[in-house]
Symmetry: C2
Subunit: 429 residues, 2 copies
Amino acid sequence: MQRLSTRDGDFAAKFAAVVDDRRESASDVASAVSAILADVRARGDAVLAELTAKFDGHELDTTGWQVSAEDCKAAFDALDPDLRAALELAASRIRAYHAAQLPENRDYTDEAGVRLGAVWHAVDAAGLYVPGGRAAYPSSLLMNAIPAKVAGVGRLVVVTPTPKGEVNPLVLAAAHLAGVDEVWRVGGAHAVGALAYGTGRIAPVDVVTGPGNAWVAEAKRQLYGVVGIDMVAGPSEILVIADGANDPAHIAADLLSQAEHDPTSQSILITDDAAFADAVAGAVEDELARLATEPTARTSWNDNGVIIEVASFDEAPALANRLAAEHVEIATEDPQAIFAKIRHAGSVFLGRMTPEAVGDYVAGPNHVLPTGRRARFSSGLSVLDFMKRTSFIQLDEAALEAVGPAAVALARAEGLPAHARSISIRLEK
Amino acid sequence: MQRLSTRDGDFAAKFAAVVDDRRESASDVASAVSAILADVRARGDAVLAELTAKFDGHELDTTGWQVSAEDCKAAFDALDPDLRAALELAASRIRAYHAAQLPENRDYTDEAGVRLGAVWHAVDAAGLYVPGGRAAYPSSLLMNAIPAKVAGVGRLVVVTPTPKGEVNPLVLAAAHLAGVDEVWRVGGAHAVGALAYGTGRIAPVDVVTGPGNAWVAEAKRQLYGVVGIDMVAGPSEILVIADGANDPAHIAADLLSQAEHDPTSQSILITDDAAFADAVAGAVEDELARLATEPTARTSWNDNGVIIEVASFDEAPALANRLAAEHVEIATEDPQAIFAKIRHAGSVFLGRMTPEAVGDYVAGPNHVLPTGRRARFSSGLSVLDFMKRTSFIQLDEAALEAVGPAAVALARAEGLPAHARSISIRLEK
């Protein structure tokens, strides 16, 4: 963890180093992934079977290619009642928030007599990658699947590796709850290729979302344009802006809630109170000592943690906008005053009683958010990632007479006579 | 041009071949582009000067790195009055249509007492690639620049190659009209790298849009994630659905308006009238004979043109949805009836007096549209490409008591104890 202060002479340089630190490993899997995708495109299911045997250690023909809807329902029914109620609360709140995102169609006629508008449609089919093992989070399945279903996607397909054939009951339960239509026991770059190109067994989809390792991320990147994808994701991060009136243990817990994700995660505190900064640093050590995820959290905090002391919170929005963090907590007396000046952030958590983790599960907004300063130009996952807009126009003769000649002039100036002709031929009497 | 009929026994296979024909050259420039981008990142302006000398044949230090605002204004003032009026009509109609796209912020408190919402902000800076030479279209500049400015982008930067130092006055005039802030005389993959990474002279931007050759497209693809980009674009295409009541010459002109773009462009006619199909095929030949762009248009029509005869227009929407074309014209008695069943299209042109070219210039909707069947999952350019959404939540103690325990249960089930702790510590009395 490093301590900075805006009062220090070298603050600008040190802060710039924090901003520029990507923390993303430049894993060189591009050519290997490219070969796998070409192979899946050419040989389909045979490649899936071979690579599943190789990487996951089971034979799909024996263990089964799909998890049935019945098995997903059985996993849901077998949940501990409290956990089932928690998943149901999360699903219903996520559904309500995303339903309000549904865009409206437009259809109007302007003063020139031109009918104009746009209609939104869901994609026909979406694929959702769900990692196997430690990072197989039911909350993540809900956050990806529910917006797709709210958007109106007819066919929602999950691919997930099942190492040694073992499934994750929580993930299956979430798939049942979210209304997933198909669950295939394949993972890795080849599973993403199967979703994009289709195979004998798996029909192709139009959009692929969901988290994954470097191979999965690279496969999505290479298939961008063949299918739509969500943003390429990097390590998680949180920026906490907190004054001295907070309980240091609360803020320490918030910082560690990101640090426990991965050694490359980053937690940053901005405060205007040096004594509070010391207290939080101490509380982090206390909290770490009791944490089951201590090794990961400690590495993240030691390597990437930052405490920045500001002379005044007036300095905070500019720093926050430079960082453009995935998560921003504002635990001050008047959080709205700072929030109003923040332009670049994935999601913002306002006030002393809004720990970021509430947003990970049950608040309603999506927890799939831009990382690595990408909040400068991209947004969290939404129903719009599963929909697309078709614009339309309709002219009658009078409208074409009104605006057509200008189009003819422009087409001729651009050296496109057939464009001009398609209009002028209709204006000839 | 090939003629198909849904009555033919081999129609399904032949139509599938049309659908699967990508027409996009798999140019292998990835490694060359990757090297250029790394070089720009490392050496900045020096690389721009070297590659501009090499590819565009002029020295930036002599010809000047930028085109001044005064020069853009002078180009605008020097326009032929009719052309200036046409550009102004186009700009004002594009501005009006895109202003209506501006998204609304949300801010509400639900029954659990959770404050929820989302705020939209423009990106700070956007870069627009404008090709040099033949494909330097002022209309394209307007279609990219105006949505950015309507979105609220503070700094809008154009990069454009000026071969032998020669600028395109129409493009400069459009840049003036659209309110572009900077015009740099650099093109190619290195110009895209300069926009994304920044150089000594050019400050980095957050989003890069605009058309370009294979090198530019590959640079954008590789930089996706460093900056936001618009969709990777392929050859233009039009699907015309027309009945026998149309003037065959009108429909022939519409088909050729796409064919003249590029030899790889595609024009497809669907009609329920065999005699009309013959008449259009004949009219295409007549129109070609008088067209200055005849060589390009003829190659496109010969190589990629398709006429599909259907038994009934009831068959048309399913075919149109398979093709998911960039442009769809519906020139029938009741175009709305067919349009209502079309789910996948970039933009739709309704009725006999709505040639697609009107939409290229003055109708208002964007002419940057998904090609190559990407309308299945993506949309035309809009103000949203230059904006991003920040979600937010705010809980008080009662709200955290209402929804927090469910989040604690889920966090524990996912093996994330610090997530759970950040909530439970606030619920301890």
